[in-house]
Amino acid sequence: MKNNIIIDLKNIFFYYNQFPVLEDINFSIRQNDFLAIIGPNGGGKTTLLKIILGLLKPDRGKVEVFGKDPREGRKLIGYLPQYAYFDLSFPVNVFDLVIMGRYNGLFKRYSREDRESVINALEIVGMSEYRKRHISMLSTGQLQRVLLARAIVRKPKLLLLDEPTAGLDSKMQKSVYELFQELSSMMAIVFVTHDIGAISVYVERIACLNRKLFYHGPKEGSLGKLEEAYKCPVEILAHGIPHRVLGRHRK
């Protein structure tokens, strides 16, 4: 892999019923990246993640995940999907949910090592006492941590997070971001959000996506491009801290 590039997208186009969702996206993720993809609702953020994960095929363009086809390379990716879509009455407890992330092929069983990794991942997210609890008895924040444990349990090289702080209060959001910062020493982290306020002091780089990729680089200097992406004036404030993180936009 050249220049530590782990994900490489070239000239990606994606259409949904002839309606362009992504247009000419050129985008790469490097080892140890800590990147936020921001943009409005319907801007193509989740679509982009799904293309990286090989769940959607772009209409044009080339995707490389760890130098391979996404369906091969995605085994090294941990994924946290958008929260809203789970059936909480499904008969599964915390431990059994997380061990699903260790799946390794047909006609096998979960090994002792798999079980130890689950305990380990639950300890990292601070949920190990809840391992026997059914998912309907967790709070939103707790469930989010459990899903994060499922994403990291196979020790991925890249963590993809779709709206990881949606539905969390600001205190919970802060603790989730601190958790990401802890994890960022072990793996590249890319998360998607439409919440501009979520770009905290922790993120190093930003990509602005609204059908096209408007900006991709360090978070400073992104503001003008962000307004272009959102088509309206944007103010970026740090998370729970009453001062600006990014330079003020000069008028």
């Binding site: 499904f90 992330g101 799946y103 047909l106």
Partner: protein, 278 residues
């Protein structure tokens, strides 16, 4: 109750009730937790086409119902995933097409169609031994498939997308599950008939999932519940001399309602006690 076992048709009926309950407990659990009740409804009604084909060709309708319902299961699965047609539209179309072709086949068959009613509404008392063997073989097939792919079905039922990423062959498993439902439908047609199949697939698992969050326990307790209630329904229908299929379904429904109220009462009482102790 013992005296009913002196009749061979009653012994066969009891064996059929046990076989059918094993299927319903296992496959029904997936149907309920994966919320594919109406896909199963579509498959079971489409199976009527296979019954009609059996009459038309002059062979055992159960034999022709097997490929017919498997094909319609695959059709629903493929159409709903691949085309832009939504899943419920695909179900509706296959449902109606299957029934219509069944009616046409029977129409084209010269003479009167004997015991057609028993395929529509079931008649556990007329099951021949040969059908019991077919049911036994299909039961073994279903149990083998579930044992082999238990982890995969479980993960894919909870979160298809994530399980795809971890390498589970989702599309194949989904079609396999639909085929298992198709097999179960064929097993069930003899007992409760095409129109009432859905009750046996959904009610036992719905009763049991209220009381445990462990999928294996849901399956096992659904099997036991199914055995008790189908034999119970059979017994009641014998005593009162009424239709067996409908009696079994209504007994299941009564037990479901009762268990639902008991479950909610227990929960409410627990909450009250917790409040008092604080």
């Amino acid at each position: 109750m013992i005296e009913i076992f002196q009749y061979e048709f009653m012994r066969n009926a009891v064996i059929a009730a046990i076989l059918v309950s094993i299927t319903c407990g296992i496959v029904g659990t997936y149907v309920v937790i994966k919320k594919i009740v109406f896909i199963s409804g579509g498959i079971s009604h489409a199976a009527f086409g296979g019954i009609g084909l059996g009459y038309f060709l002059g062979v055992n309708p159960i034999i022709t119902a097997i490929p017919f319902s498997i094909l319609s299961a695959i059709a629903i699965g493929v159409i709903s995933r691949k085309s832009k047609l939504s899943e419920d539209a695909a179900i509706g179309i296959i449902w109606a097409v299957g029934m219509a072709s069944g009616i046409l086949f029977i129409n084209l068959t010269p003479g009167f169609a004997p015991d057609l009613f028993s395929y529509l509404f079931g008649n556990i008392l007329t099951i021949p031994v040969s059908d019991l063997y077919i049911m036994l073989i299909m039961n073994i097939a279903i149990i083998l498939i579930v044992v082999l792919f238990f982890r995969e079905f479980y993960a894919a039922s909870f979160d298809e997308e994530f399980s795809t990423i971890t390498g589970i062959p989702n599309r194949f498993l989904y079609l396999l599950l639909l085929c298992m439902i198709a097999l179960s439908v064929v097993i069930l047609i003899r007992i409760v008939g095409i129109i009432l199949v859905i009750a046996l697939l959904t009610i036992p698992a719905s009763i049991c999932r209220q009381f445990t969050y462990d999928i294996k326990k849901i399956m096992i307790s659904s099997v036991i519940t199914g055995i008790i209630l189908t034999i119970g329904g059979l017994w009641i229908s014998y005593l009162l001399d009424i239709a067996s299929g409908a009696t079994i379904v209504l007994l299941l429904a009564v037990v479901f309602l009762t268990s639902y109220f008991i479950k909610n009462m227990v929960t409410a009482v627990k909450r009250l006690k917790d409040k008092k102790s604080i």
